[in-house]
């Protein structure tokens, strides 16, 4: 038998529900005029956390739309994570699940929230082990080591390039490489083409540059291997300078 009586549980549930919704509960033995402090404190923590995580979306959406969205989220959603700084991910997931972007007729909303969440995620994500690498060897025919602390994502809207006010009508294929610098911990963003996104994805899979480019030459109907190689090597050099590619994988 549970030690906690149903009635006590019910009192606790009512207070918690009030904090989530702001709808006055009937509770036993409370100081009515002080109850609102709990709703205010709980709701403010929630709002602050979300507004700090999504500053662009927050500034872009009209106040009344934002306020309703945050109100609905807090009232309807049950926050699962015990770590409040991870909670904004649940807000993003909630917006996707409820298809808020269609309801608001803002088809770029999911991408925008995703982008803002990624910045937070890449900045804070757990340290990952770098692969063992060497700087000497055949760069074309050896698998390359990549900074593991990164995300490679595809967007339908260029949320990482344009201001939110300029996104309308810009649907397309956009690729973003976001990574964390090892020493400084700073987050860097690179807008890359579909070809470079393909190369990076294949490099991640341990495929050599020579093999990737041979494949890409036909896949992207370039049919000029030397030119492709030159461009690709420039791209790789850029990533080397950024220390995103520190060297060749030690095998």
């Amino acid at each position: 038998m549970p030690l906690l009586k149903e009635d006590t549980h019910a009192q606790q549930s009512k207070l918690a529900h009030y904090c989530k919704t702001g709808i006055k509960p009937d509770l036993i033995g409370v100081i009515e005029e002080n109850l609102h402090h709990y709703r205010r404190l709980v709701f403010n923590i929630g709002i602050d956390t979300i507004e700090t995580a999504y500053p662009i979306t927050y500034r872009f959406l009209p106040d009344e739309i934002w306020d309703k969205l945050v109100y609905d989220y807090y009232a309807e959603h049950k926050c699962k994570t015990p770590q409040v700084w991870r909670m904004p991910l649940e807000f993003y997931e909630y917006c996707v699940e409820k298809d808020i972007q269609s309801k608001l007729n803002m088809p770029f909303l999911n991408d925008l929230l995703h982008f803002e969440w990624l910045e937070l995620e890449v900045h804070t994500m757990d340290d990952m082990t770098y692969p063992s690498f060497t700087t000497k060897g055949d760069w074309l025919n050896s698998p390359l080591a990549l900074n593991p602390e990164h995300r490679l994502v595809k967007f339908t809207y260029p949320v990482h390039i344009l201001a939110a006010t300029e996104l309308e009508g810009k649907a397309g294929d956009y690729f973003l490489l976001m990574y964390r610098e090892k020493e400084s911990g700073k987050v860097q963003c690179m807008d890359i083409s579909i070809l470079y996104a393909y190369i990076l994805e294949q490099l991640q899979n341990g495929i050599t540059l020579q093999a990737i480019l041979t494949e890409a030459d036909t896949l992207f109907q370039i049919n000029d291997f030397e030119m492709l190689k030159e461009h690709a090597l420039n791209f790789i050099n850029d990533l080397k300078q950024r220390e995103f590619i520190p060297g060749l994988l030690n095998t």
Binding site: Q12, L15, C19, V30, I45, H123, E149, G185
Partner: protein, 281 residues
């Protein structure tokens, strides 16, 4: 716990001032306290800052989301993460709030008042035992500030005492919270303190608050500690054996030398009330 330079007063480690704190020695705490929830699973820049801090100071943990008073089941997965963190940073004190922050599977990220009732006491005692079994260390539970009782059938001091004595856990005595509650609920703070299980107090909190009306003080941790709370602190430490004391400052962070001023004032008080022959618990 081995405190730095044989002092007693620690400071809450906040991201807001970590850079300045670690780069200077304006603040001279005996230890630092942090919420494990804010650091578990975090890498990059903040992990480096945390590791730097851990090299310089002993760490105590003060949790936020255990929700010991919740009707929900304990989150064992989360508890194991806490345990790992505690081991990793050689944490000697893990404290939490005698309140609930999660209900019906929803986290609220704030401290709600538990009904002061017999069944809640039993429920919480069994949960404390479960937590202590998993962590293999005692839990220290803090008296929280509250703005209204809910469905109470006993007084606050009895509620706290029954839980602490019945579970064998330690108590974190937050002196400011006693002051805040004594104001909001119109009782005598010193009298209240004498009713607590003082032999179980293993840790003390001190903080500032904000009086928002003639009848209500909110426990903000955003202001300097007021004289009346220092007085209550002096009174309280006179009743206790030496334990670590923490200055909580979460918002509205002033110049670090101001915080050090508060630390020094507390250090001066305990150097009087806790004579040097006492070894720290």
């Amino acid at each position: 716990m081995q405190l730095k330079d044989n002092k007693h007063i620690g400071i809450g480690f906040r991201k807001d001032f970590s850079e300045e704190f670690l780069a200077s020695d304006v603040l001279k705490p005996a230890f630092i306290e942090l919420a494990p929830e804010n650091w578990i699973g975090m890498g990059g820049y903040w992990k480096k800052q945390l590791d730097k801090a851990a090299e310089k100071y002993p760490i105590t943990c003060h949790g936020l989301s255990l929700s010991i008073g919740s009707p929900d089941d304990l989150d064992l997965d989360f508890l194991h993460k806490i345990k790992k963190f505690i081991k990793q940073y050689n944490v000697q004190i893990y404290s939490e709030h005698l309140s609930y922050a999660k209900c019906d599977n929803a986290h609220l990220y704030d401290l709600l008042p538990i009904p002061f009732r017999k069944d809640a006491v039993k429920h919480i005692i069994s949960r404390i035992k479960q937590v202590q079994d998993v962590l293999e260390m005692p839990l220290a539970l803090e008296n929280v500030s509250y703005y209204t009782p809910v469905a109470a059938e006993m007084d606050e001091a009895t509620f706290i005492s029954e839980i602490v004595n019945g579970s064998g856990c330690n108590m974190l005595l937050d002196v400011n919270n006693v002051y805040v509650n004594s104001f909001n609920h119109k009782y005598n703070a010193k009298e209240f303190i004498t009713k607590l299980p003082l032999d179980k107090v293993s840790y003390i909190h001190m903080a500032g608050h904000e009086q928002i009306s003639d009848t209500v003080i909110i426990d903000t941790h955003g202001e300097a500690v007021i004289d009346q709370v220092f007085d209550l602190f002096e009174y309280t430490t006179g009743l206790l054996k030496p334990v670590p004391v923490l200055l909580e400052r979460d918002f509205n962070i002033p110049e670090l030398k101001e915080l050090q001023g508060e630390i020094t004032r507390m250090e001066t008080i305990v150097s009087k009330t806790w004579k040097k022959e006492h070894a720290i618990a």
